[in-house]
């Protein structure tokens, strides 16, 4: 008997729908609720899975355990007051959340950002990307069963970057750093020197980390050919970030929109061939290397000057009526903010386009037909944070 009704449900047919898999008829189906407190779910998230022996027949993600209606709260407070709250969306990379929100408001109000602030944004954003990718690789390997070591390698490097954040902004994770029209505080020359030192040490870490993992036989056996996502479905399902590029679609918003000053830097967009878990894992390695290249250029060229637009209004900030959608390439994918202003001090509509939630749209498609042990890996390779999924 089906408890949740997962098994009997017939699905509509279409090329972009998950296929209907029939059980082989031997024995009974087993329904498992993976989560909400499963260690691999990075938080509180549930997958209702129907299994035929070990094979996944259906998978339904269940959301909302961490829902606090961030959007409603933001509509009740002023524009600037939401800035610290965006840190709590994707709490692994607060800088990029700040950036996306600041970018959307700057589009709405037509504000300029001084050049030094743009450079600082790029430096901090790329440091965030490195620490996110490193720790997401670490988490993935941890869930595969390599307990501890790779994750600790990643966290050792992440600590160095978080120390830089703490020195500059006062907080390791809840940074609250950006403002509409610039950044909150300037970086001292000593901080820039320390950052250069950390960045100079990063290639060595990536080499070491890669030596430890990429050629590993068990890792290859577990991840190659698992959770394949085709390029056409990835685009249709709105998948963004490293996951989209692992499927071979050349779409990086840093290149496409060239927001901020990204068109000044030379960097490549790594692409995958197969779109499986291994590709997603490798893409993150390659992106760390490209981020290091961007950081080296930005730290070399950073000019002097103010970090806040002197004309920017902090108090009594009321953008003219209208709307704007601003998006950036966050480490997890396209992070967008959609704002409608009615001329008041609060946004009339405040919407977060969460990459983590939308990347999970194809979770069922990737998992069907695989063993339940692979679900953990496929889920880990999507790289989500529940603070952003449920908002």
């Amino acid at each position: 008997m089906s408890v949740t009704g997962l098994v009997r449900e017939k699905k509509p047919v279409g090329w972009n729908r998950p296929p209907h898999i029939e059980p082989d008829g031997e024995g009974e189906l087993l329904e498992v609720a993976m989560g909400p407190h499963h260690p691999s779910t990075h938080g509180v998230f549930r997958m209702d899975v129907a299994l035929d022996a070990e094979r996944v027949i259906r998978l339904k993600p269940v959301f909302g355990y961490l829902h606090r209606n961030h959007e409603k709260i933001a509509e009740g407070i002023s524009y600037l007051a939401s800035m610290p709250y965006t840190d709590r969306l994707d709490y692994i990379c607060p800088i990029t959340n700040n950036w996306a929100y600041a970018l959307a408001v700057e589009k709405l109000a037509g504000q300029e950002v001084p050049e030094r602030a743009e450079y600082l944004r790029v430096i901090l954003g790329e440091l965030t990307r490195i620490q996110n990718h490193a720790s997401s690789i670490g988490f993935l390997i941890q869930e595969m069963g390599a307990s501890g070591t790779p994750l600790m390698y990643a966290f050792r490097e992440r600590e160095k970057i978080l120390d830089l954040f703490e020195e500059l902004t006062g907080a390791r994770m809840m940074v609250n750093y950006m403002r509409f029209g610039g950044c909150r505080v300037d970086a001292s020359p000593a901080w820039l020197d320390r950052t250069r030192k950390v960045v100079a040490g990063l290639p060595e870490f990536v080499d070491e980390f890669e030596r430890l993992l990429t050629g590993n036989e068990i890792l290859m056996a577990r991840t190659q050919g698992v959770g394949v996502l085709k390029a056409a479905l990835a685009v249709n399902a709105g998948v963004t970030g490293p996951m989209l590029r692992a499927s071979g679609v050349d779409y990086d918003i840093r290149k496409v929109d060239g927001y901020g000053i990204y068109n000044r830097f030379k960097f490549r967009v790594p692409l995958g061939d197969h779109g499986d878990v291994y590709d997603r894992f490798m893409i993150r390695f390659l992106e760390i290397r490209e981020s290091i290249a961007i950081l080296e250029q930005a730290l070399k060229d950073i000019p002097g000057g103010p970090v806040m637009d002197p004309k920017a209004k902090i108090r009594g900030f009321r953008p003219k009526p209208g709307e704007a959608y601003g998006r950036i390439e966050a480490p997890k994918g396209e992070l967008g903010f959609y704002l409608i202003s009615d001329g008041g001090p609060n946004p009339y509509r405040y919407r977060v386009r969460p990459p983590s939630l939308i990347n999970l749209t194809v979770l069922e498609d990737m998992c069907l037909g695989h063993d339940i042990a692979d679900v953990v890996l496929i889920f880990g390779s999507v790289d989500i944070v529940l603070g952003e999924v449920d908002r």
């Binding site: 959007e71 399902a237 779409y251 953008p319 009526p321 709307e323 959609y338 509509r349």
Partner: protein, 240 residues
């Protein structure tokens, strides 16, 4: 990338009677949008996705906006007959007076789609659709059959705003639990008194509950037979 006017012309050439309107955006962002007629929305969206020049294959963002009933004050000239005493004789005189009349503009729910092209790397093209009202005619066609990325986002709009998407393959609440009754992102939403369950209702909860009872005389009053205790679990979320 074509301008909004050019896209509108292309749509009208491809889909007859599409009835696309341009919604101007006064902000500096300059992101103007196109309002679709719900009856033709699927055909227009299919054209936008498959057209060789536009190729908007990537639906990035789907979101709802609530526009509640609005009171509009208007100055209207009214002519009416007034009895006046002119030279000691009562006469009926026609008089034109300027009056402020209050009119209620009916509200609606709106859904906004942000489209990009991953193949051509341009965008955004913004589509909007409106429901007839906010209460019983809240159906809009779902674009999930065309873009899978709308699946969870339309579920979220259904959950938080109450827009019913016809043609959606799996329309359930996304973030709130299934037994929940209201739509929290609507602007007139009031959270239930017993939202945070406590075994005994304390003063603040009871005080808030009393104001709600005063507004809704049909609800059972606390202390009478048949009334649920103010902290009742099964009333959670269904209070409205």
């Amino acid at each position: 990338m074509k301008t909004v006017e050019e896209i509108k012309a292309a749509i009208e050439a491809a889909v007859p009677n599409a009835g696309v309107e341009i919604v101007a955006n006064p902000s500096v962002s300059g992101q103007h949008s196109l309002r679709l007629r719900p009856s033709h929305a699927l055909a227009v969206a299919r054209f936008l996705r498959d057209d060789e020049e536009l190729k908007l294959d990537f639906l990035s963002n789907v979101t709802g906006v609530d526009w509640p009933d609005k009171q509009v004050a208007e100055k209207v000239k009214v002519t009416r007959t007034v009895t006046k005493t002119v030279d000691g004789v009562e006469q009926a005189v026609e008089e034109t007076v300027e009056e402020t009349q209050k009119r209620v503009e009916p509200g609606h729910l709106e859904v906004v789609y942000h489209l990009y092209s991953a193949a051509k790397k341009h965008g955004p093209v913004i589509l909007r659709m409106r429901t007839v009202n906010r209460t019983d005619q809240v159906e809009l066609p779902s674009l999930t059959p065309l873009w899978r990325s709308a699946e969870f986002q339309e579920r979220e709009v259904f959950d938080l705003y109450g827009v019913v998407f016809t043609g959606h393959p799996d329309l359930r609440r996304l973030l709130m639990w299934d037994a929940f009754k209201d739509h929290p992102m609507r602007r007139d939403y009031r959270e239930p008194d017993d939202f945070e369950y406590e075994p005994t209702a304390h003063d603040e909860v009871l005080k808030r509950a009393q104001t709600h009872w005063a507004e809704n005389p049909s609800w059972p009053v606390a202390g009478t037979a048949g009334a649920a205790p103010a902290g009742g679990r099964e009333k959670s979320g269904a209070g409205q």
